[in-house]
Symmetry: C2
Subunit: 120 residues, 2 copies
């Protein structure tokens, strides 16, 4: 983990610290998978408040922390907003094709259930 | 779940019941990931006793059950041995490319750590 000297700087694993098992675990929750599908679809930084999730605020915070600590997303404060972005470059470098195949699988599953891919 | 009328027939999800989140969860454990890499490498039915795992027998049984109940493997009794095989056809039909990308990612990670892929 990088050391957070600034209390508003959040800990992230370096690229080398990202573990496949942690990434798969982060993606194995329906709410977190939905967040990641949304991020991939929008392809820009998104505030936590952007996501309309069927869980409490504290649970939402937990899910974002799991995604950050596993290396799937980066979170950064911009003013008062905590902004989120996929670490696509890191994931694609470490595990080529993995993120895309998970996103495609989520889309295929949502399609079979008659839902939009971002509601995976 | 299919109904097990034969006490030695083990419950498996049908192809339609397999969920992406369950598959990712099953693959997110280092021991289960190692089992799956071995199975993909051998490409034949393997007895549970084939696997040399750093966990107790009951934990091994638990891991195989998680893999079976998520739809990643099928388990069948042949005589007194419980044989295991990847459900590659089902997984590839539901989530094209997913299993291969996970196996490649496990291999890449093991390679970076100087270990054989099956020891992911």
């Amino acid at each position: 983990m990088t050391t957070a000297t600034n209390p508003r700087a959040l800990d992230h694993p370096t690229r080398e610290e990202i573990r496949l098992e942690g990434v798969l675990h982060a993606l194995s929750d329906p709410v977190r998978l939905r967040i990641v599908c949304h991020m991939a679809h929008e392809a820009t930084e998104l505030a936590c408040s952007y996501f309309d999730l069927p869980v409490t605020k504290s649970t939402t915070t937990h899910h974002f922390r799991v995604l950050r600590e596993s290396g799937v997303i980066q979170q950064i404060y911009r003013g008062t907003a905590k902004m989120n972005a996929l670490r696509r470059e890191d994931l694609d470098a470490l595990f080529p094709g993995l993120l895309d195949s998970v996103l495609e699988a989520a889309g295929a599953q949502a399609s079979r259930q008659g839902r939009p891919a971002e509601d995976a």
